[in-house]
């Protein structure tokens, strides 16, 4: 493993294991390397081991085996130094409903040892940055989910951490709140050089935010790379079509399957994974025309991270998540026309 000097602001883990008493290995020998200033997306369904990994890396849970260094410090032997270097917004926004936003900031800045003059200025700056200045004096019990998450993020930043852990930061948020949080996380990494370790079960979140993604399933990292690399590994795009006449759906499916294996599609549509890539799309259109099948809509889906997950685990991420439904898949799609 590299020393702290080699990756002083990043995260490194080697053969990290966490085994619970009478339970399964929640994390089963994972290796990680997150460079400073990078946003690393840790993607997986509920129960995959994401949060357990975060708890170990933030020193809140000792590993059963293996080693990890965060900001150059060993998470077992140098816990206080790790904690001084990191900020964390854990899975549930742990806030006191009886305190106001500014009272939370006051408590957090004081516990982190900021001097009296700096506490007020830092609190005001962060509340402004997350858009909570107007609501600062309101009790948190009356905040929306998005406001709670933004306050949680502000609290994690009071001591200017070099590394930020965000454990499913947008779960349950509406799209506006989610987008606002993404923008702030991106800004932290690009403008302030903060290293971000982000767990998520939302493919689009990992796709939009992360420079690199690790996919974890049953405690193992099953794939790792940039979203583009991972999708390229899968390679094949999906073509999906809706016939103008519903009765033509079976014939449509048969034509599409000449170009690749059938893929999941809504009941009124048919889809296939193109064996030879998107260059085949023109052939597909010609074949449909030759069969006389009128098409209402034709779409080409680029490979998504869900396809990667499916390829690596044999399951869709959406189906693998038992407690909370995953959001829409993160692949881009392009409508190419109708015939």
């Amino acid at each position: 493993m590299a020393s702290g000097e080699q990756n002083g602001r990043g995260i490194e883990a080697e053969a990290l294991v966490r085994e619970f008493k009478n339970g399964p290995r929640a994390v089963d020998g994972i290796d990680l390397r997150v460079e400073e200033g990078e946003i690393y997306g840790f993607l997986g369904p509920n129960g995959a081991g994401k949060s357990t990994t975060v708890l170990m890396l933030t020193t809140l849970l000792p590993p059963t085996e293996g080693t990890a260094r965060v900001a150059g410090f060993d998470v077992v032997r140098e816990g206080p130094r790790v904690r001084a270097s990191i900020g964390a917004a854990l899975q549930e926004a742990a806030l006191d409903p009886l305190l106001s936003g500014s009272e939370h900031m006051r408590l957090q800045t004081a516990l982190h040892g900021l001097d009296k003059a700096e506490r007020k200025a830092r609190s005001a700056e962060l509340l402004e940055r997350v858009g909570l200045s107007q609501a600062a004096e309101r009790k948190v019990g009356g905040y929306s989910g998005g406001m709670r998450r933004r306050l949680d993020l502000a609290l994690a930043l009071v001591h200017r951490p070099r590394i930020l852990f965000l454990d499913e930061p947008t779960t349950g948020l509406d799209i506006q709140s989610r987008t606002a949080l993404w923008e702030e996380v991106s800004r932290l990494a690009s403008e302030e050089g903060v290293t971000v370790f982000l767990t998520t079960q939302y493919l689009e979140e990992a796709d939009a935010l992360a420079g690199r993604v690790g996919i974890i399933d049953h405690g193992h990292i099953v794939a790792e790379g940039t979203p583009a690399e991972l999708k390229a590994e899968i390679g094949r795009p999906t073509v999906e079509a809706v016939p103008r006449e519903r009765a033509d759906r079976e014939r449509l499916a048969a034509v599409l399957e000449r170009f690749g294996a059938a893929a999941g599609a809504p009941p009124e549509a048919a889809a296939a994974r193109l064996e030879s890539g998107e260059a085949e799309l023109a052939e597909v259109v010609r074949a449909l025309d030759a069969e006389g099948i009128a098409i209402e809509r034709l779409q080409l889906h680029a490979p998504s991270l869900d396809d990667v997950f499916l390829a690596k685990t044999g399951r869709s991420l959406e189906g693998a998540s038992e407690d909370e439904p995953a959001e829409a898949e993160g692949g881009t799609s392009e409508t190419v026309g109708a015939s």
Partner: protein, 260 residues
């Protein structure tokens, strides 16, 4: 960590604890109303007990006024423990664990709410009791000592609440302790002085029950005068409970907070 930083931590956590207590009328009101209600019922229903030969005062209200201070302390167990259990359940304790927070600061801060509640309770019970006609032979210094003893007992019992919360991590489990503590109160010299309890087993249990001596410390100030041995025993028991409670809670905190 500097001493100044530790003081800041204690101060800020104490501030939070006090704010939480003041913002939860459901914590304060029952702790004030129920003991006074029971005082009213008992002092009326058992007034004839003062006719027993050897009863130490002619006012059963004065004799019974010691009991609300103990009942108030029992409410403190529940409130302090429930607050900490909620912090564990919501993950707020993990948030605190990620700061350079010391365990001593956490406990001191949490118990600050008990101090405030204990003070308000004791002042209210004493004021209502005196207005209703109870005696206080030791005057203003005695009143201050009663409040000090009540606050000490409230804080000491609060550590038991902290321990229970850290061990179980459940507010419901902490609240489940409440009836058990009330049993300790009932099998003490709550209703009669020790030497007037006729049932042999009850007297033996009450004799070894520390609650009896906490009640006697209050009673000495109310109608006997400055009985230093009784006061020393009362404050000593409170100190002992505080020490044992703190040690137990510290151990439980180490188990609960497995941060490296």
């Amino acid at each position: 960590m500097s001493g100044g930083h530790l003081r800041t931590q204690v101060g800020q956590l104490a501030r939070r604890s006090v704010l939480r207590t003041l913002r939860q009328p459901a914590q304060i009101v029952p702790a004030l109303v129920f003991p006074l209600f029971l005082l009213a019922v008992n002092s009326n229903g058992l007034a004839q007990a003062t006719n027993l030969p050897g009863f130490p005062t002619s006012s059963y209200l004065t004799f019974a006024l010691a009991v609300p201070f103990m009942q108030g302390a029992l409410f403190s167990v529940m409130n302090t423990g429930t607050d900490l259990a909620r912090d564990i359940e919501t993950g707020f304790l993990n948030r605190l664990a990620l700061t350079p927070l010391r365990g001593a600061a956490l406990f001191s801060g949490l118990l600050a709410g008990s101090v405030v509640l204990g003070f308000v309770q004791a002042a209210t019970y004493l004021t209502v009791g005196l207005i209703a006609g109870a005696e206080l032979v030791t005057g203003v210094p005695g009143a201050l000592t009663i409040v000090a003893l009540a606050v000490s007992i409230t804080v000491a019992f609060g550590t038991i609440g902290l321990f229970a919360a850290l061990r179980t991590g459940s507010g419901e489990a902490v609240q489940g302790l409440f009836p058990m503590f009330f049993v300790f109160l009932f099998i003490s010299a709550m209703a009669l002085p020790l030497d007037l309890i006729q049932t042999d087993w009850f007297r033996k249990v009450a004799t070894v029950n520390p609650v009896t001596y906490l009640l006697e410390a209050f009673r000495s100030l109310l109608f006997e005068g400055w009985e230093l041995d009784k006061l020393a025993l009362g404050f000593g028991i409170a100190g002992m409970v505080l020490l044992v409670g703190m040690l137990a809670a510290s151990r439980a905190l180490k188990t609960r907070l497995v941060r490296t």
